[in-house]
Amino acid sequence: LWWAHSPPARLPRPPPAAAGSGPVGPCGRRAYAPPAERKRFYQNVSISQGEGGFEINLDHRKLKTPQAKLFTVPSEALAIAVATEWDSQKDTIKFYTMHLTTLCNTALDNPTQRNKAQLIRAAVKFLETDTVCYRVEEPPALAELQKNEWDPVVAWAEKRYNVTIGSSTSILGPNIPASTKETFVNHLASYNMWALQGIEFVITQLKSLILSMSLIDRHITVEKAVLLSRLEEEYQIRRWGNVEWAHDYDLCELRARTAAGTLFVHLCSESSTVKHKLLQD
């Protein structure tokens, strides 16, 4: 997303471009491209509670979204996590590592301008090309691996949501009955807009609605979900070897994004209340 990299905090005069812009240098950069990195311009990060929710303060300035709206989140835990992201930046601000901030900006700005129904439709549409339903026939070792690893997750989803999904080796993919899609549409409708942005993000990362739901329902961990999503890659890595600067790089990035998305969904859809048990005499 282009706007994810534009500087969130609006200052009267932006500081000069950060060092390390690569071989072209600051003069050769295009005028309209936002810098990928900026120097850290604040000392302290703190949280305050405003009217709409929790806000982030960088020194005395309030954090804003790329579309210059005030950055407000509904959950204190989420605000703390975002503040930690900003505080853990060292000399330069690396926006590509600040996944929770990016998700909050997406939820606040809604740059694709989709309403709840459109988001749900986009999410459920993924079921037709769901990774865990798309099977190969050869090599047989991979087909076997897919059966052993993916069948349990599909079975869990079918049981949990009382639907029929199945899997397919044809190029057209599985034939998902309309009632199944209906069930998922109704289930997703129970989440609020923020949580839905997070869910759609996780689905896009994992390329699977089923894996995303099993993650959000806490049936599997993030590491397991990412492993299942990358099953074929893991098989090929085990066969042909691992290339750290490509495989591990992608793996860490996918884990980071999926973890951020999952945490975002849970923090946006929970309401924690502490119930004190009465002492029993």
Partner: protein, 107 residues
């Protein structure tokens, strides 16, 4: 329920990640205080199977995965993708040459 292991292990790993992220004063950071307080609050319960405790543990494990992956991703980026090109002087130096000095500057 996901296979998570012992909550204490997750907590210790999470606090270690926060220390990596924050640096010197990590104990005063709001994240540290929030995590410790949340774990303390959910520890005391008379129920054997506490749903809130499992939810918190899952959230902690997810946050741990996030912090760890971001740190590893950044390390890999720095190692393999962050260097940029070498300058002409460096390239010449790699094969043992030095660029000629032109007294009046180039051109």
């Amino acid at each position: 329920m996901a296979a998570l292991g012992a909550p204490l292990r997750t907590l210790r790993a999470l606090l270690r990640e926060l220390r990596h992220a924050a640096g010197r004063s990590y104990r005063d950071s709001p994240a540290y205080r929030h995590v410790v307080a949340a774990f303390r609050a959910h520890r005391v319960t008379s129920e054997k199977l506490c749903r809130a405790q499992q939810e918190l543990h899952f959230q902690a494990a997810t946050y741990l995965c996030l912090l760890r992956s971001v740190r590893e991703h950044e390390a890999l980026h720095r190692e393999y993708h962050g260097r940029g090109e070498r300058s002409p002087q460096e390239v010449a130096g790699m094969v043992g040459f030095r660029l000629p000095q032109q007294p009046g500057g180039k051109g």
